[in-house]
Every structure is written in C-alpha cells, then in structure tokens.
C-alpha cells in the first residue's frame, strides 16, 4: 500500500485517500499508510453516521462518507473567467488549468458509476466543460471493492455495485492477509509495475477477491426477503420497476405534501449526492467595476434561486422542490441522460438531518398505486 502511494507521488500525482476527521471518514491528502482508517467502520442510517472500531476491520471496511469524487472534478466553487477593464475594453484572462493531476484512493463501484454520470453531463454533447475535462483527464482512480455495505447502501438495486468492473485504473480488494489488485487501464499497469514490493499473485488470490464481492452482492440481494434485526437500521433497497412512470404518473400524490412536512429544504441531499450537478454562475465585480470574476457555485433545486424566472420563483413550496429533486433524479434524468440519476450510494439518506429516505418515499407512492 505504501509502495502504491509512493509510486503515484513519484509519478507526479497529488494523492488523496480516506481518513478519519471530525467523526467521519473523509478524503484528504495522503502521505502514508498510517493515515488510512484501519479498524474503523461507519454505521449509517437516516440522518445518522457514526464511526465504530471493529477488531477485524481492515483499512477499507468503511463505505462511502460525506465526500465524493464530485468535489474534486466539479469543485464547489470555481472561477470560470476573469475580466479586466483596460483602455476602454474588456480583457479576458484565460482560465488556467495547471494543478497537478490527482490520484484518488478509495472510490467504490457506486462512486465510479456516479462519475460516469457526471462525465455525461460535463463532457458529452456540444458544450464540454474545460475545467472538468482537464481534471478528469488527469485523474487516476484506485477503486476499492466493498466487502461490507452500510444499511443505507442500495447499489444492488441500481445495478451499480457492489463490485466495480470498469472505470478505474486500479482496483483493490482487501483480503485478510493481503491486497489483490486488478488493473483497469494501461497507466494503471504502468504505476503498478513501479510499486516497490508488488508481485503478481496466485490465481487463488483472485478467486478469493471475487468470492468476497459475490458474497456481499448475495447478501444485499437477500435484503428483499430478510427483515432487519430488531433495533438495527433498515437495510435499504429500491424497486426500480417502471420507476420512471410511477413517479411521473403521481405528480399530485399526497405523499409529496407529507414529505414536505418533514423536509427542511436545506439541500444537504443534493450537496452530498455524487451525481447532482446544478450550479449557479454569477458575475462578481469589485467596487470600481473594473475587475469582474465569473464564479460558479454548487446550488440546489431546494433553493429559491434555482427556479427563479423573470416572473419570480416558480417552485415556491418545499413539496414542489422535493418532487422536483426526486422526479429528476429517478425519472426525467432517464429522458435526459439515458440512465437513472441515482447510483444507490445512500448519501442523501445518511446526511439528511431529518433522515428522509428516498427509498421509503418511492415505496410509499408505490404502495398506494398497486
């Protein structure tokens, strides 16, 4: 592991990876193996995230935390352009993309699917985002194969995990006595060859790694037939059959008002969602009006500004905003990008201060339309 960090640094990458800070596993600069959250797991439920120590837990037995790749490829705040008033005209200062390339250790299968969705948003079609492209091209992904899922995970329902099969440069499976590493790209192979102390493993190791993933997948599949232990959080899953139409045919369902009684319109769900891509762009001038920056900031369909048109705010109630979020994520996203906007990572459930759970909301609507 240390060899891998060193090889990436040697190759000019800025390396980030999971570590414990402020009661959660977050991404931060990684220098050494010692910083990884060895022996730590995360227990997650609606509106609850707690770290716990577990004797047999390895370096990567936590799952997804509050951060995701989104922060790094599509930063929360970015200056897109700077303008300077010079001799009666505006001089445009071009955007510089000279940050060192980034290597991230830790993204899970759901995260890779989320990144693929954001790739579609920012890289496909006529308008390519230059900043995203520069950061994305430089990105080196060391994915981690989950061997444990949180109660809030439902990648098995969204067909986005738990096993990552593409979209990485390297993928790690943590076994009890070693790591199995799968190579996913040519540069992945090159970095791996430069890792001190790495040697090709026996086929049995590969089998053990695959078994581990299949075992997790089977146990997640069984969620539909097993009850959660008393007192333990509900194990999430989402019935995706005809989901697009289910929601679009129920735009006046009373459930939207019910969820709005609890929803705070605080936007945490959209901020932590690894696929949400909404931003607001504004021109910020200084007092002299001779220097203007065009700034892009994450925003959310839970804010008033998001639906502000010349006639005013279109979505004025929390019910309308929650419905916008869920129907976009699970229905109209499919029309727009040919895939669901949800990868089942469960972040929106965990980080909602009042624990609103989209799988429960969908189930409630489905229940009444049977």
């Amino acid at each position: 592991m240390q060899g891998l960090i060193d090889a990436l640094k040697e190759d000019g990458y800025r390396v980030i990876g999971p570590q414990v800070a402020d009661g959660a596993v977050v991404y931060d600069e990684l220098e050494s193996l010692e910083q990884l959250p060895l022996g730590v797991i995360d227990e997650q439920d609606g509106g609850v995230y707690r770290l716990a120590r577990r004797q047999d837990a390895g370096y990567f037995d936590h799952v997804v935390g509050p951060h995701s790749l989104k922060r790094y490829l599509f930063p929360p705040q970015e200056t897109l352009q700077q303008l300077q008033l010079k001799d009666g005209g505006w001089r445009v200062e071009p955007q510089q993309f000279d940050e060192p390339p980034l290597a991230v250790i830790g993204p899970r299968s759901c995260d890779l699917h989320a990144m693929a969705i954001q790739d579609r948003v920012f890289l496909e079609g006529p308008y390519v985002d230059p900043g995203y492209r520069a950061r994305r091209e430089g990105l080196f992904v060391v994915s981690v194969q989950c061997r444990r899922a949180a109660a809030t995970c439902f990648c098995h329902s969204m067909k986005t995990g738990p096993r990552a099969d593409h979209g990485f440069d390297l993928a790690l499976s943590e076994l009890d006595d070693c790591f199995a590493i799968e190579v996913g790209s040519e540069r992945g192979g090159r970095i791996l060859a430069a890792v001190d102390g790495w040697k090709p493993g026996a086929p049995t190791i590969v089998d053990r790694a695959n078994d581990q993933s299949s075992q997790l997948e089977r146990s997640m599949e069984q969620r539909s037939t097993t009850e959660a232990a008393p007192g333990a959080p509900k194990l999430r899953q989402l019935d995706t059959q005809d989901l697009r139409d289910l929601l679009l045919n129920n735009l006046d369902h009373p459930r939207w008002e019910q969820v709005a009684d609890r929803c705070l319109a605080c936007a945490n769900c959209t901020m932590v969602c690894p696929t949400c891509f909404c931003s607001s762009v504004s021109e910020v001038s200084d007092l002299t009006n001779e220097h203007v920056r065009r700034e892009r900031t994450w925003t959310s369909c839970f804010t008033a500004e998001h639906s502000f048109l010349t006639s005013g705010v279109v979505r004025n109630s929390t019910a309308a905003r929650y419905r916008q979020w869920l129907t976009h994520k699970l229905s109209t996203w499919i029309d727009q990008f040919d895939s669901s906007g949800c990868v089942g990572c469960g972040r929106c459930i965990t980080w909602c201060p009042v624990g609103i759970d989209l799988t429960e909301e969908v189930a409630a609507i489905r229940e009444t339309t049977k």
Partner: protein, 272 residues
C-alpha cells in the same frame, strides 16, 4: 433595482450619500463597515459618507440616498426617530439581527420588563422604555435586510456595490447547510448528534461554527422555507431536552417570525 448613483436624493454633492444610524444594539454591525479596510477607501471614493457618528464627527443634513440602520426599537423616542429616518432615506437597509428581528434584547418580549427595571436600576423612575424590542420593519417599510450577528462585511460591500451599479445584490436566502457543504465540513448534526440550527438558518457566515465542531446558533435568522418544527421534533426524538431547544431557537433571532412561532409552540407543548 434602480441605480442609486443616477439620481441623488441631494442635489448638492456629485456622489450618492450614505448615512448610518444606531438604535438598541452593540455597535458590532457598524464596526463591520469599518472592518472593511480594503474596500472602505474605495467606498469613500464613490459614496459621500454623510452621517456616520461612530466614524466621523462631521454630520451632513439629510436627505440621504442609502440609510443603514443598526439596532432595534426599544423606546417611544426611537419609534419616532425611525419614522423620521425613513422619511430622510431613499433606500433603507437594516443591518444585523437587532434591526432585522429585534436582536438578543428581544428576549425581554417573553418577560416582565417592569420587574427587571425594579431590580436592576437604583432609580427606576428615570427609565423610560417599551415592553418590547422589535424589528425596524415592524415600524417602517424596509427596502433590504442584511442579516447576521454581526453582519458579514463582504455582504455589506456586495450590497453597496450592487446599489451603486443598480443590480440585485447577491445575498442568498438558502440554508447555512449549503455553505457548510461547500466548504466540506462534516455535518455535526449527523456525525456527532449535535443539535444544529443550520438547516433552518439563512446562509451568510460561511458556516463557521460547524467547522469548529459547534452547532449553528441561527445568527442569520430563518432561511426562506425554514421548517423549524420538523427539525426540533427530530432533535427532541433523539434526546435533546425541550427547554434546550427553546433556548436554541430563542437566540439573536428568536423574535423573527419563524423562530418565534417554533419556540412558542415548543414551550406551549411542555406546559400543556
């Protein structure tokens, strides 16, 4: 928003005029203007600071283009004075929690002020005060509210800049949680079980308190669609005593309508 610099309230100077007034308050918000060291000179270039007793002794007569009001209304005399100020200012902006919601001193609105006076002052007869501390908007129409305890200097500069150019100021009315997530702070409510007011509070501070592992105290008052009842129910369910919650919502902005209603409902439930 019309451009302030195009037609002035006064014909006498070439620059738009600014006046700063103080009511029941602590000076903190006015200091935020003086704190804008880098921008203050640029502001002074573009605006005539006509009346700002805390900064300069020279005071020009009104009317003024922009009036900034700090503090809440706590006396009969002040209630009269704000009406005169309203008449004098084309564009009236309240700055801070006191002017916008009554401030921390609005805690008196839930108590017996007469009793305080008897206990605190040697000669209670000298004290002339109202029973309540109320927001400026309860007395006169206000054109814009800058929230915060104290206000954010950058927002103040943004407001003045936008008034000069004639565009809408960029002062978001969404939750503190958005700022908290922008800076990448781990949510203290979810990861540590702390009762944080961020979800129902308007952004503006940059989510400072959660970044120091503390709850948001609601300095910027209720956000646009503040659902305080739902948040408090959640915190109560997970063990926060109701009287703590009442104290949490009755803070600097406790008398702002959304916080006031939630605090009163919590209190009623516990007595009822």
């Amino acid at each position: 928003m019309s451009k302030i610099s195009e037609q002035h309230a006064t014909g006498s100077t070439s620059k738009p005029t600014l006046a700063v007034f103080k009511f029941a308050s602590c000076y903190g918000c006015q200091l935020s203007l003086l704190d804008a060291e880098d921008e203050l000179l640029a502001i002074a270039h573009q605006i005539e600071i006509a009346y700002f007793l805390e900064a300069r002794t020279r005071a020009l007569e009104g009317p003024y283009d922009i009036g900034l009001v700090e503090g809440s209304i706590t006396t009969e005399h002040d209630a009269e004075r704000i009406r005169e100020i309203r008449r004098q200012c084309r564009f009236l902006v309240t700055i801070g929690a006191c002017a916008t919601a009554g401030g921390i001193q609005a805690l008196r609105n839930w108590s017996d002020v007469g009793e305080f006076i008897q206990q605190v002052y040697a000669t209670p007869g000298y004290i002339s005060t109202l029973a309540t501390s109320t927001a400026i908007t309860d007395h006169v129409p206000v054109d814009f509210e800058l929230r915060g305890c104290p206000i954010n200097t950058a927002q103040l500069v943004e407001l003045i800049t936008s008034l000069l150019i004639g565009r809408t100021p960029r002062v978001p009315n969404y939750s503190v949680c958005i700022e908290c997530k922008l800076r990448g702070t781990v949510c203290v409510a979810v990861a540590q079980g702390i009762s944080c007011l961020g979800p129902v509070t308007q952004a503006g501070c940059g989510a400072i308190c959660p970044s120091f592992n503390r709850e948001c105290f609601g300095c910027y008052g209720p956000q646009e669609l503040a659902n305080v009842t739902s948040l408090c129910e959640r915190y109560e369910e997970r063990g926060e005593p109701r009287d703590h919650l009442v104290r949490l919502v009755r803070n600097f902005n406790g008398y702002a309508p959304a916080f006031r209603a939630a605090g009163d409902a919590l209190e009623e439930e516990s007595h009822g």
